[in-house]
C-alpha cells in the first residue's frame, strides 16, 4: 500500500469521528413526531451546564488534593504496608462508576449498611453523592500520575534544597511543586473530561447534569442542544489535554536518576494517610465487593432465578471481543501511518484521533442514532435498521470511543520496528507483503495484543454506548446492572456486578502479568 493511500485511510478512520457530530446536526432537522418536542431554550441547558461544571470542579479539586497526598506518601514516606497499599489503592479503577454509585446509593440509603447507623433519612442521590463516587473513581488516576512524576524527579534536587537549609514545605513548594505543575494540569483536565463525560455514576445517582439529561431526553431538539452543550464543554478540555500532554512529554527532570528517598512521616501525616487509604480502598473496592456478594447471596437464599446470566456473559464477551477487534483494525491505519512518518499531518491526525475518542460515550451513541434516523428518513427503502440489528452500529460506536486507546498501544510498537531490518529484507528480495508478514507483523504483535486487551477491558465495562446501541434481544452485563438497579433488583445487580468485576479484574491482572514478563 502506498504511503499516500495509507495516509488517506488513516485520515478516513479519524474522520469517522465526524459521524456522531453529523448525526447530532441532522437531528436538529428531524420533523416532530406525534408528540411536539419541548421548546428549545437555553434556560434549560445553562443550569445543567453549570451543574456539570460544578461537579467537574469539585471532583477535580478533591481528587487532585487526595491523589497528590497519596502519590507523595507512596513515593516519599516510609511506613508499614506502603507498597501493598499503593497496589490496593489502584483497585477502585476496576470498578465501573455505575456499579460503585449503585453500591453507595444502597448502603447509604435509609436502612442501608451505613445509612441506618448514621440515621440518614433521605435518598443518597444527587450532587454530593456523585462527587463522592466520582472522586473515589478519579483519585487513583491522579495518584498514579503524581507518583510517576515524583519517580522521575531527581532526588539530587531535593537533597540540594535540603543541604541549602530548606525545610519540607519549602522544598515541596519551591522545588518539587514547579515540576509537578504540568502533571497537575494534565490530571486536572483528565479528571474534568472524565467527569463531564461520565454517564454511569450521574445516571444511577440521578444527578441532573448534561449527559444524564441527554440520555433522558433522547429525542427532539432539546436533546440536540444538550449534545452540543456537552461538546462545547468537552472539546476545549480535550484540546487542552493534548496541549498539556505535549508539554508533559518535554518536561525537564525526566531522567533515570535515583528518585527520592523515603523518610518516616509524622504521626498525624501517617494517621491521615492510613485513614485515606481505608476510605478510598474501603469505599472504592472492598465495599462494592462485599455489597455485591451480600446481594447475590440474598438472592440465592430467597431463590432468585438469575435469568439467563450465561447469555449476558456470552453477549458481553462477544461484543467486547468484536468491538476490540474492529477498534484495533481501525487504529492500525493511523498508528502505522503516523509511526512511520512524523510530520505536521501525522501530528494533526494524532490530535484528531485523541480528541475524537474523548467525546463522551453518550454523545457518540446519541449522534450515531440520530444519523441512523436521518438516513432512514432520506432513503427509507434501504435496510438501515439491519446496521443496528447486526450490532454494526454498536461496533462503530465502540471503535469511535476507544480509537485512541488502541492507537496509543499500537504506535509505540510501530516506532520500535527497525527500518534497517526492512531495508535488509528488501535487499534480500522480500516483497511488501512478505516483509509485512515476516517482519512487521511479529514486531507489531505485542502492541496489537496490548491494544486488544486494553480496548476489551474498557468495553467490558462500557455503559452508555452499550445501552443505546446494543441490538434488541441482547443484554450485556453492564446493561443488566443498569437495568436491575433501576428496577431495584439488587440480587441481579449483585451477580451481574460480581461477574463483571471478576472479568475486569481477570483481564487487568493478565495484562499486568503479561506486561511484567514482556
Amino acid at each position: 500500500m502506498s504511503r499516500a493511500l495509507l495516509r488517506a485511510l488513516a485520515a478516513a478512520v479519524v474522520g469517522l469521528a465526524v459521524l456522531p457530530v453529523l448525526g447530532l446536526a441532522l437531528g436538529w432537522f428531524r420533523p416532530p413526531g406525534l408528540l411536539a418536542p419541548p421548546p428549545v431554550t437555553l434556560d434549560r441547558v445553562l443550569p445543567l451546564a453549570g451543574k456539570t461544571l460544578a461537579l467537574a470542579a469539585c471532583v477535580s479539586a478533591l481528587s487532585l488534593a487526595l491523589g497528590t497526598w497519596l502519590g507523595w506518601m507512596e513515593q516519599r514516606a516510609r511506613y508499614r504496608g506502603v507498597r501493598l497499599l499503593a497496589l490496593f489503592s489502584m483497585l477502585p479503577m476496576a470498578v465501573p462508576s455505575y456499579l460503585l454509585a449503585t453500591v453507595l446509593r444502597e448502603v447509604f440509603a435509609p436502612g442501608g449498611w451505613f445509612g441506618a447507623p448514621l440515621g440518614l433519612t433521605g435518598r443518597f442521590t444527587g450532587f454530593w453523592p456523585s462527587v463522592l463516587a466520582l472522586t473515589i473513581g478519579c483519585t487513583p488516576y491522579v495518584q498514579l500520575l503524581v507518583g510517576a512524576a515524583l519517580r522521575r524527579f531527581p532526588e539530587a534536587q531535593e537533597e540540594a534544597a535540603r543541604s541549602l537549609g530548606a525545610g519540607p514545605w519549602r522544598r515541596f513548594a519551591q522545588v518539587v511543586a514547579p515540576h509537578l505543575r504540568p502533571t497537575w494540569a494534565f490530571a486536572l483536565v483528565l479528571v474534568a473530561v472524565y467527569v463531564v463525560s461520565d454517564f454511569g455514576a450521574v445516571a444511577v445517582l440521578d444527578c441532573e447534569v448534561l449527559t444524564w439529561a441527554l440520555y433522558k431526553a433522547r429525542s427532539g431538539r432539546d436533546a440536540v442542544l444538550l449534545g452540543f452543550g456537552i461538546m462545547a464543554m468537552v472539546l476545549p478540555i480535550l484540546v487542552a489535554v493534548r496541549l498539556v500532554e505535549g508539554r508533559l512529554e518535554h518536561a525537564p527532570g525526566a531522567s533515570n536518576e535515583r528518585s527520592g528517598t523515603r523518610r518516616a512521616p509524622r504521626r498525624s501525616a501517617l494517621a491521615l494517610t492510613y485513614g485515606l487509604h481505608a476510605v478510598m480502598i474501603g469505599l472504592g473496592f472492598a465495599l462494592p465487593v462485599a455489597a455485591l456478594t451480600a446481594w447475590t447471596l440474598r438472592g440465592v437464599v430467597h431463590g432468585a432465578s438469575f435469568v439467563a446470566i450465561g447469555a449476558s456473559v456470552r453477549d458481553t464477551l462477544l461484543f467486547a471481543a468484536a468491538g476490540a477487534v474492529v477498534t484495533v483494525l481501525l487504529a492500525l491505519a493511523p498508528a502505522w501511518s503516523n509511526g512511520r512518518r512524523r510530520d505536521r499531518t501525522a501530528r494533526l491526525l494524532e490530535h484528531g484521533a485523541y480528541v475524537a475518542s474523548g467525546l463522551p460515550g453518550v454523545l457518540v451513541a446519541f449522534g450515531l442514532l440520530q444519523l441512523l434516523l436521518a438516513l432512514r428518513r432520506t432513503s427509507p427503502d434501504l435496510p438501515w435498521q439491519a446496521l443496528e440489528r447486526a450490532g454494526l452500529l454498536l461496533m462503530l460506536g465502540y471503535a469511535l470511543r476507544y480509537l485512541a486507546t488502541g492507537y496509543a498501544a499500537i504506535k509505540p510498537a510501530v516506532l520500535r520496528l527497525d527500518p534497517r531490518q526492512e531495508e535488509s529484507a528488501r535487499s534480500l528480495g522480500a516483497g511488501r507483503f512478505r516483509r509485512f508478514l515476516r517482519l512487521s507483523l511479529p514486531g507489531l504483535a505485542p502492541g496489537l495484543a496490548a491494544a486488544f486487551a486494553l480496548v476489551f477491558l474498557a468495553l467490558l465495562k462500557e455503559l452508555p454506548i452499550t445501552l443505546l446501541l446494543t441490538p434488541i434481544g441482547s443484554t450485556t452485563l453492564a446493561f443488566r446492572v443498569f437495568d436491575a438497579q433501576r428496577e431495584g433488583s439488587l440480587p441481579d445487580v449483585g451477580l451481574a456486578g460480581l461477574v463483571l468485576l471478576t472479568l475486569a479484574l481477570g483481564v487487568k491482572l493478565a495484562l499486568q502479568r503479561w506486561r511484567t514478563h514482556a
Partner: protein, 337 residues
C-alpha cells in the same frame, strides 16, 4: 576548630556492610579527597556527612557539634551547614542562576550583595539571569559551587565534581574550583574515583578499599603515591608493578638488582614500582619488549623481565621483540598485602 570530624563510621544496607570503622578529620581551608573504586562506600560516606543517609555506627561532628551518632540523627541535613555540589549539579531548572544561588540565603538581608560577590568569584556575573539549561557544563558546575557556598557552610562536599566534563575542561576547572574554595576558606571533602583529581586537588587523600570499605591510608597526595601502605592503595593511586625482594635496611635485593627503599625494612618484601621508575636499556640482557603503546611524548611498554611482566614508561619507543635489561631508579615503597 576542626570543620569536620568523622569517628569510627560504619554502615550497612540490609545485610551488606559497605563501610567500617572510618575515621578522619578535615580542617578549615583544606581539602581531603576520598579515593576508592566503584562500590567502595565513598558515596555512602559523603551522603552520611550531608545527612541524606543515617550511618548505623560512628559519629560525625561539624564544627565540633555532633550531627549524627550511632544511627541517631542529631541534626537534620537542612540544619547541618554542609554544602554539597552534586555530580550532575542538581541545579533547579525552573530558576535563574541568581535564584539558584539565592535559594539557600533567602532570609539573609544582604543576600543580593552576597549573590553578586559569589557570581563574581565564580566568574558568572554576566549570566545571572540565565537558566541552567542555557549554560555549558563548566558554567553549571560553577553555579552549583556558588550555590553551595552561599550559606557559608562549614564544609563543602564535592561528589565526583568533574565526572561530566571533558578532559581539557576538567583540568582547568579543577584548578579554578580549588582556588575558589581556598579563597572561601572552607573545608572541602571531595569524593572521586579519579586518582588524577584526588592527587592534584587535595591537601590529603583518604583511600578507601576492601569489603566492607575501610580507610586504608590517609596522607598527602605525594605520600599515598610514593609511599603507599598496601598493594590496594598503590593500585588505586596509580599504575604500579610489584617486585618481590629481600630487604636489608634501606636496600632490597630483587631479580632486577638492588633497589633503594623509602623506609628501612628487613626480610621478604613486596615493592611497589611506578612505571616512571623503570628504565629499559636496549642491548644485552634477559628482558624483552612484549608490546608498545605510543602516546606521543612517551611510550608505554610491557616488558618480560626476570621479575615477571612489568609496565613502564619510556621516552624512546623500542619495537616489540627488542632485547635489553631493566633497572629501577629512585626509592620504592615496601607494601603490605
Amino acid at each position: 576548630m576542626t570543620a569536620l570530624r568523622i569517628e569510627r563510621l560504619g554502615h550497612a544496607y540490609g545485610a551488606a556492610r559497605v563501610l567500617s570503622d572510618v575515621s578522619f578529620a578535615v580542617e578549615p581551608g583544606t581539602c581531603v579527597a576520598v579515593l576508592g573504586a566503584s562500590g567502595s562506600g565513598k558515596t555512602t560516606l559523603l551522603r552520611s556527612v550531608a545527612g541524606f543517609v543515617t550511618p548505623a555506627q560512628g559519629r560525625i561532628f561539624v564544627r565540633g557539634a555532633v550531627v549524627v551518632e550511632d544511627g541517631r540523627e542529631r541534626v537534620p541535613a537542612e540544619r547541618r551547614r554542609v554544602g554539597m555540589v552534586f555530580q550532575d549539579y542538581a541545579l533547579f531548572a525552573h530558576m535563574t542562576v541568581r535564584e539558584n544561588v539565592e535559594f539557600g540565603i533567602h532570609r539573609d538581608p544582604d543576600r543580593a550583595e552576597r549573590v553578586r560577590g559569589l557570581l563574581a568569584l565564580v566568574g558568572l556575573s554576566e549570566l545571572a539571569g540565565r537558566r541552567p539549561t542555557e549554560l555549558s557544563g563548566g558554567q553549571q558546575q560553577r553555579v552549583a559551587l556558588a550555590r553551595a557556598l552561599a550559606p557559608r557552610p562549614a564544609v563543602i562536599l564535592l561528589d565526583e565534581p568533574f565526572a561530566n566534563l571533558d578532559a581539557a575542561l576538567r583540568a582547568r576547572l579543577g584548578e579554578e574550583v580549588r582556588d575558589i574554595l581556598r579563597a572561601a576558606g572552607v573545608a572541602t571533602l571531595l569524593v572521586t574515583h579519579d586518582r588524577a583529581d584526588a592527587l592534584s586537588l587535595a591537601d590529603r587523600v583518604a583511600v578507601l578499599g576492601g569489603t566492607p570499605a575501610r580507610l586504608l591510608q590517609l596522607d598527602t597526595p605525594e605520600a599515598v603515591y610514593a609511599r603507599p601502605a598496601t598493594r590496594a592503595v598503590a593500585a588505586l593511586t596509580g599504575e604500579v608493578s610489584f617486585l618481590s625482594g629481600t630487604a636489608r635496611g634501606q636496600v632490597a635485593e630483587t631479580p632486577l638488582g638492588p633497589v633503594a627503599l623509602t623506609a628501612a625494612a628487613q626480610g621478604a618484601v613486596t615493592l611497589a614500582v611506578r612505571p616512571e621508575q623503570l628504565r629499559f636499556d636496549a642491548g644485552e640482557g634477559t628482558s624483552r619488549v612484549l608490546s608498545r603503546r605510543y602516546f606521543g611524548p612517551r611510550s608505554h611498554l610491557r616488558v618480560a623481565t626476570p621479575a615477571g611482566e612489568l609496565g613502564m614508561d619510556a621516552a624512546d619507543a623500542p619495537a616489540p621483540g627488542t632485547a635489553g635489561s631493566v633497572r629501577v631508579v629512585g626509592a620504592c615503597a615496601a607494601v603490605a598485602d
